[in-house]
């Protein structure tokens, strides 16, 4: 039995957070979000938190694929980049209204992932990791070389419109506003994923992840639920891409790079991909370790590598898994 894609949850009897508790937690988290500008001291800290939220969204996307589909993706940056590029290119060229650009930037990657999911969902394990890596890199190569699209490897700056959905768009580049917005979106995404996990389709998807053949003989077609999970994961990654592109006013092929996918996967694993909130926690933890390790910034990938190796070897269920275990032991 595998540790990451399967089995890990078996040792803990997870009582799903009772309905009321879920709503209360979400409400508290949203309230904290509104209070953030008073809690976070400096503009720099706000900007860091906003970026940590982008990472958290992307990691949540990768983790959700593991949690609900049992598939490990090394190419989730494809949808992050696709979201960012769609919004950047469409706004820069004024092809459509900016609001439409945002919608397209979120819907297009979702749709692409759904169609791709129909095809690649039956590929498992190591082959799936290699395949998604290749798909992600294919996108990277295309935007890298296609200079006419967005200046190839130089990347492209773009100006936000004055208004977006009737609100002043310049706020998107204000750390305080973006921090609150990204936090709120992350909380809502996690809330929605928790609801999905308890929904009928969510439990059917979990059953298909656990044992696809038996699910088929119980009367389920397994392609659609799997593709749906791919689509939802891409939807989240696309939101992260749109937010990140708008905040920076800049898009570059780096958004598609496999290192982005790889780091998102690492965050998910470190946080604990068997928990809906695990990847987000992993992202935030890593982000702040990085900030703290500022003077060692040039060794950062190695530090991440070491953390990853240590975590996979010593706590296969990640930080959140460890916390859950400790909590249980305390209760005894």
């Amino acid at each position: 039995m595998s540790t990451i894609a399967h089995g890990a949850a078996a040792t803990v009897r997870r009582k799903p957070l009772a309905g009321a508790a879920l709503f209360v937690t979400t409400a508290v988290a949203l309230a904290v979000g509104v209070a953030l500008p008073w809690l976070v001291p400096t503009k720099i800290a706000m900007s860091l938190l906003a970026q940590a939220m982008f990472d958290a969204l992307l990691a949540t996307s990768v983790g959700f694929l593991i949690l609900q589909n049992g598939r490990v993706s090394f190419g989730q940056a494809a949808f992050f980049g696709l979201g960012g590029y769609s919004v950047g290119v469409l706004i820069a060229r004024h092809w459509v209204a900016p609001e439409v650009a945002v919608l397209i930037a979120i819907i297009l990657p979702t749709l692409v992932a759904f169609l791709l999911g129909l095809v690649i969902a039956r590929i498992t394990g190591v082959a799936h990791a290699m395949l998604t890596l290749a798909v992600g890199q294919a996108f990277y190569e295309v935007v890298f070389r296609w200079r006419e699209l967005a200046k190839g490897d130089d990347g492209m700056s773009f100006n936000l419109p004055r208004h977006l959905f009737g609100l002043s768009a310049s706020g998107l580049q204000d750390p305080a506003v973006m921090m609150v917005l990204a936090w709120t979106i992350l909380v809502l995404v996690l809330f929605a994923l928790a609801l999905f996990a308890r929904s009928r389709i969510g439990q059917i998807a979990a059953a298909i992840r656990d044992n696809e053949e038996r699910a088929r003989f119980l009367g389920y077609s397994t392609m659609l639920p799997r593709a749906l999970v791919y689509a939802i994961a891409a939807f989240i990654a696309a939101i992260a891409g749109v937010l990140s592109a708008c905040y920076n006013g800049y898009i570059a092929p780096q958004m598609f790079h496999w290192s982005v996918s790889g780091f998102a996967l690492i965050m998910a694993i470190i946080g604990g991909a068997k928990f809906i909130i695990g990847p987000a926690i992993g992202a935030v933890v890593l982000f702040y370790i990085k900030d703290y390790a500022g003077q060692f910034a040039e060794y950062w990938p190695a530090i991440v590598g070491i953390i990853l190796v240590v975590v996979t070897l010593t706590m296969p269920r990640g930080v959140v898994g460890l916390a859950a275990t400790l909590w249980k032991m305390r209760g005894r």
């Binding site: 595998s2 690649i120 590929i123 394990g125 290699m130 290749a134 694993i269 590598g305 990853l308």
Partner: protein, 282 residues
């Protein structure tokens, strides 16, 4: 035209040297080594350092031996320890090793591109048809062909080779026959990474050295491994030549297609035979 084909064979040969190492390791450990590209890169830097002192061939030797040792350590410390875990865990750990190696090399040699010299013996060009062609490139072709021939002879005619082929088919059954798979794996992973070191040195004068030089070629060799049929030596050889040609011809005539075509080919193959090539063995 003919020169183009030769250039394609050169790149295909390099891909083969890298891909065959991946195939060897995958056969025994059922793990795709994401650190393989960075071992290639480390091999190139080691060779470069010795070559810079004036011993080009010494650099080759040092790199191959050092990488063989690193491979044995990798097998003993990582692959053997994690053999009962989900293979994807091992893949993640190799990804972590990739990050560590890249950073270490950056810290020692810096980020700047370095130029690997061509050995004096192989400098200059020969005329093929009427156009000049670097002798060094012919050397690269010769090395890959020599490796391909000796490897297939070794696998076919020696007892160890027979065991390796058996273990690649089914490691568990082979172990039950009383064959020491762990010792085999030590040899195989050592050999695979030694080949990564060899290809790093050989590729050095063709590519410029940088800590990320292994990434691009790693993905290309993933494609080779998958198209060749995850775990097949002959398949990897054919696929490496094919990707080498696509790479080179595309670069000249169809830059667009050359970048995306290998990826599409890989996706198509995986979809066409998800279990035949990989699914059944993951």
């Amino acid at each position: 035209m003919f020169i183009q084909i030769l250039n394609g064979i050169v790149y295909g040969g390099l891909l083969y040297l890298l891909a065959v190492g991946l195939v060897l390791i995958f056969g025994l450990r059922e793990v795709v080594n994401f650190a393989h590209g960075s071992l290639f890169m480390v091999g190139a830097y080691l060779g470069f350092t010795v070559a810079a002192m004036g011993y080009w061939w010494g650099g080759l030797l040092v790199s191959v031996v050092a990488m063989a040792i690193v491979g044995c350590m990798l097998d003993a410390a990582v692959f053997r320890t994690l053999r009962k875990q989900d293979h994807i865990v091992t893949v993640l750990v190799t990804f972590g090793i990739l990050l560590i190696l890249e950073t270490t090399v950056t810290a020692i040699w810096g980020k700047a591109y370095l130029t690997y010299p061509v050995p004096r013996l192989l400098a200059g060009t020969v005329d093929i048809g009427s156009s000049p062609f670097p002798i060094y490139r012919l050397f690269v072709i010769a090395v890959s062909v020599a490796v391909a021939l000796s490897l297939s002879a070794w696998l076919r005619y020696t007892r160890t080779g027979l065991y390796i082929r058996a273990a690649s088919t089914d490691a568990r059954v082979t172990a039950m026959q009383g064959i020491n798979v762990d010792r085999l794996s030590l040899i195989v992973v050592g050999l695979g990474t030694a080949l990564a070191g060899l290809s790093g040195v050989v590729a050095g004068p063709l590519l410029s050295l940088s800590p990320t030089m292994g990434n691009y070629i790693l993905i290309d060799s993933f494609i080779v491994v998958v198209i060749g049929g995850l775990g097949s030596f002959a398949g990897a050889f054919a696929a490496a030549l094919l990707i080498g040609q696509i790479h080179n011809f595309g670069a000249v005539y169809l830059p667009w297609a050359s970048t995306v075509l290998p990826f599409l080919l890989m996706v198509a193959i995986l979809i066409w035979r998800p279990t035949g090539f990989a699914g059944s063995r993951t």
